[in-house]
């Protein structure tokens, strides 16, 4: 194996069965909430790439000299569909997706090239109820995956935006301050705010921003820092949502968190991330992005979230449901019709039944059984009773 192959393979999903199991669980949940799964091609016209992804796509020339990009994300593809072929469909539009996006590693950020995601987009709905639907779905998704120890950190981009807009900082100055906030570098922040001569109330509010995380008490702390109408509006919106969530007995709790300042240009309202102990990375991201559909020709609100399958699957090891319920042995060609009939009967009852087309020896079969979580192995000609082997369900 050459070094290029090794580098590429080291970025691949650690456990396909666990990833598939996670996707299956989420698909079931999304369907229950009436989100229709949309499938997209891996290759997309390069000129349709959104500004946030510019420079991060893997591009290939097409047969006519044009340029194609490996899809860098799903959200913009759903937005494009909503603004074009989905234009006449009544709103709100509920769409889900499941697959791998491809992006060049971000310096100092996400280093993955292949990003396996399952997510939902709610397009054409603004307001607290739509936000509540997505946050609830995120919470139920984490619980359905068995990640009961997770937390969802919920914030609103409008608060930091209001503080920065009211300051005398230039755009470059805002970027520097946000980068320092994103690194939690308080000392450098204080020096920067002083050197930029930011007025005292705004400087104090920005310095205390990193403490605004916790229970609903955070809202009072945040209101004590500013009287800016835009900041108070953002807090009001977020508080209303948090109150709804508190009354809804979510399976995975939400934490108020105004400390996240990255991706300000992407989100336009609430934003959230899901964390699991020992994961090291967010396993879920979402929020409101009302400017998402506009570049495709129709201005409409949108909110959604994406589960990070590669980051979730290590936590599902050993607990994933079976990929195959029954494996039916077929020792000879003559027994095929009988075995097929049995498989059909099982499938009609909702089982996932596979036929052993390799006529594997028993030691090889055991490995296969282990890899796919097969619950029963069925031999033909056993007078209708299913013989059980190996591990039970």
């Amino acid at each position: 194996m050459n070094s290029l192959t090794m580098r590429a393979s080291s970025k691949m999903a650690p456990s396909p069965p666990a990833a598939l199991a996670a996707e299956r669980i989420l698909r079931r949940l999304f369907r229950g909430w009436t989100y229709i799964e949309t499938r997209f091609g891996i290759l997309q016209p390069a000129d349709g790439v959104q500004p946030a992804d510019l420079g991060r796509t893997f591009d290939v020339p097409d047969e006519s000299g044009g340029l194609l990009s490996l899809r860098p994300d799903f959200t913009s593809l759903v937005a494009q569909e909503a603004a074009t072929t989905g234009q006449g469909i009544p709103r709100p539009l509920r769409r889900s997706y499941c697959g791998t996006a491809f992006r060049k590693p971000d310096r100092g950020g996400d280093r993955r090239r292949e990003i396996r995601q399952s997510g939902v987009e709610l397009i054409g709905a603004s307001g607290c109820l739509a936000d509540a639907e997505i946050v609830t779905l995120a919470s139920e998704g984490l619980a359905a995956l068995g990640l009961d120890q997770a937390q969802i950190h919920l914030g609103h981009v409008g608060f930091i935006d209001a503080l920065l807009d009211a300051s005398n900082l230039t755009e470059a100055g805002k970027t520097i301050v946000c980068n320092l906030l994103a690194k939690h570098d308080r000392k450098a922040m204080a020096l920067e705010l002083e050197s930029q001569q930011v007025d005292a109330p705004t400087a104090t509010a920005l310095m205390k921003l990193l403490d605004l995380v916790g229970s609903s008490a955070v809202f009072a702390q945040a209101r004590a820092l500013t009287s800016l109408p835009a900041a108070l509006d953002a807090l009001g919106e977020l508080e209303a949502l948090v109150n709804m969530m508190d009354r809804s007995r979510l399976p995975v709790p939400t934490i108020v968190d105004l400390t996240e300042v990255r991706d300000r240009s992407y989100y336009t309202g609430i934003r959230f991330e899901g964390f699991v102990p020992s994961s090291g990375f967010p396993v879920l991201r979402g929020g409101r992005y009302d400017n998402l559909v506009q570049p495709f020709g129709s201005k409409e609100p949108a909110v959604g979230c994406a589960f990070e399958i590669n980051r979730i699957s290590p936590f599902l090891e050993g607990s994933e449901p079976a990929d195959i319920d029954e494996l039916l042995l077929c020792p000879s060609q003559e027994q095929w019709p009988e075995v097929l009939e049995r498989a059909r009967a099982l499938r009609s009852q909702g089982h996932r039944a596979a036929i052993d087309v390799l006529s594997s020896p028993s030691n090889q079969r055991m490995l296969y059984q282990e890899a796919y979580g097969i619950r029963r192995i069925i031999e033909p000609g056993t007078s209708g009773t299913l013989e059980e082997e190996g591990r039970s369900s």
Binding site: R107, G108, G109, D110, R111, Q151, H153, K183, H184, D185, R186, K187, V213, I255, D257, E273, F275, V276, P277, S278, S279, G280, F281, P282
Partner: protein
């Protein structure tokens, strides 16, 4: 609850780091012999001693919640971690050094740069619009120009004596660095109180 995991860089930054944690009562005996993993006195934390270049990886990936690492290593790693505290020791400069009499210039042929920090160097020369090719070395970088391997070097300098002894002198300073405390982003969300307490205790022990 699982103890907070703190990754410390072996080498020149280890003794001051152990001394800091001793001052806040988390380590009783700074001399751990050859032990690479040990618990704090109160059992709240677990310490790992790892190679300096590995500290950002341990922290970024969440195998450690907190780390102490040189700013040079952190810059070179490009890791996505929080940097809430500069620790005030291990101060150094990252410089471009050249044989005596040479000067930094964007004109002429592309320069060959020997360095342990190819990312930092590449970024610097790219920003300065100086054509340059990086040659990655693991150590003794100062030898490279005299052996004809490179034109210039980019290296970490504490006093500058090694440069002088090898006929080199700094021609540009890229940045200054010092030891830093770094924190995993997810740990900061999930274990905020424990991490905050350590940062607060350490801050009190640092020179203003």
């Amino acid at each position: 609850m699982k103890p907070l995991t703190i990754a410390l860089s072996k080498g020149r930054l280890l003794a001051p780091a152990l001394s800091l944690f001793e001052k806040i009562g988390l380590i009783a005996l700074p001399d751990r012999g050859r032990q690479l993993v040990f618990d704090s006195t109160d059992g709240r934390c677990q310490f790992l001693l790892v190679k300096p270049v590995d500290v950002p990886t341990y922290v970024e990936q969440g195998a450690a919640d907190i780390g102490i690492v040189g700013g040079d290593v952190l810059l070179e790693s490009d890791s996505d971690v929080l940097c809430p505290l500069m620790l005030g020791y291990g101060a150094c400069r990252i410089v471009v050094a050249a044989p005596r009499g040479d000067a930094i210039t964007a004109s002429g042929r592309p320069r060959r740069i020997a360095t342990k920090y190819p990312r930092i160097a590449e970024r610097f020369f790219s920003e300065q619009r100086i054509p340059a090719a990086m040659i990655r070395l693991g150590g003794s970088v100062e030898l490279a120009p005299s052996m004809g391997l490179s034109d210039w070097i980019v290296d970490l300098v504490e006093t500058g004596r090694t440069l002088v002894e090898n006929g080199l002198e700094p021609i540009a300073e890229i940045t200054t660095t010092q030891a830093q405390l770094i924190v995993n982003r997810a740990s900061q969300k999930l274990r905020r109180e424990g991490i905050g307490l350590i940062i607060e205790q350490l801050s009190k022990e640092l020179p203003c």
